[in-house]
Symmetry: none
Subunit: 222 residues, 2 copies
Amino acid sequence: MEEMTDALRRAFPFWEHLSQAEKERLVDHTRPLHYPKGGSVHRGDEDCVGILLVKKGQLRVYMLSEDGRDVTLYRLFEGDVCILSASCVLEAITFDVCIDAEEETDVFQISSQTFRALSEQNIYVKCYGYQLTTTRFSDVMWTMQQILFMRADRRLAIFLWDEISKSGSDEIHMTHEQIARYMGSAREVVSRLLKYFASEGIVTLFRGGIRIVDKNKLRGLI
Amino acid sequence: MEEMTDALRRAFPFWEHLSQAEKERLVDHTRPLHYPKGGSVHRGDEDCVGILLVKKGQLRVYMLSEDGRDVTLYRLFEGDVCILSASCVLEAITFDVCIDAEEETDVFQISSQTFRALSEQNIYVKCYGYQLTTTRFSDVMWTMQQILFMRADRRLAIFLWDEISKSGSDEIHMTHEQIARYMGSAREVVSRLLKYFASEGIVTLFRGGIRIVDKNKLRGLI
């Protein structure tokens, strides 16, 4: 009980703005919960499990398409607070995500009803919810940046693969400028990616060309 | 002046929680501003123009990759409030976006400094900022769902359908490049799909635009 109160005080910056009665209400409606590895925590709009404070383990938050493909948005670890599992409480959230436990995970769960009631009567609680959601927005934007714009690495990998398949040689004698033109990209982008491929041990670079040193890794990018 | 005060009162739910001095400060640091069609409003972390209340016109908020490709996140119209143009004020926002005026656009601009000062002294202002950002998060998630999971042909069909529904005309005067930008796709993809739509008798293509010739078939793709 004391461990829990302590954890809540440390996790929530609005704690000092709560009345004694509000603090008690929060503690009374918080409970420890365990999710087994691989267990489902939250499924779109089917439930509203509430705010989860991660004590141990890992939660994965992801989007699911109708045909079952998924995209990881971000992961939460010890000390993180999961807010999208209480998306029903925050009316400005109109989308749904899924959340799974990636490891054996222990959390403190604050019920949605309690969080809703507190955020309606205390502006600091409400503000905390939206501020935390904005932090997750930042996480998602970082992920999207990778997904949407990192496609260039795949295009380059495909290009290199095609070249060595065509020529039967492991060496490609082309400048970065020429490759960029073939790919419809910019020289700077190609140079940056080739440097990255080199640091990953996929290629080595030499004057006027590229040597593929790990075909399996290259293939893995396609 | 009175028009401006009126607009602020209507736009901001925190208005009633402001002291008289805070109201005066807000009004004193708000000014009308015009952006020409195509003009840049905000560029990543290069500036912090403040909160923009759209009076007339349209703002487009988008992500830009290093090699210049862009993905539209959402659009703002009359009566909407642009918050990411003041991202420097909200510390939970750690990403950057770009904002352009898509039409001749008139706004009321509240300076970043003023909004920062008000949100530091008044929790209702701060809460408003984060709540509005969460609403935009919802917009972005909707867009991402389209981009990541929906087949490009369906997205193009939805786009064309929306355009003719908005304009009431069967003709869309846009280049493939422009459509690709709106859809967060590539010109080559749009051109290939339009050629396919044409071969199916759904559209005919003319220089600078597209004519929808079979609305039922188009609808069937949605």
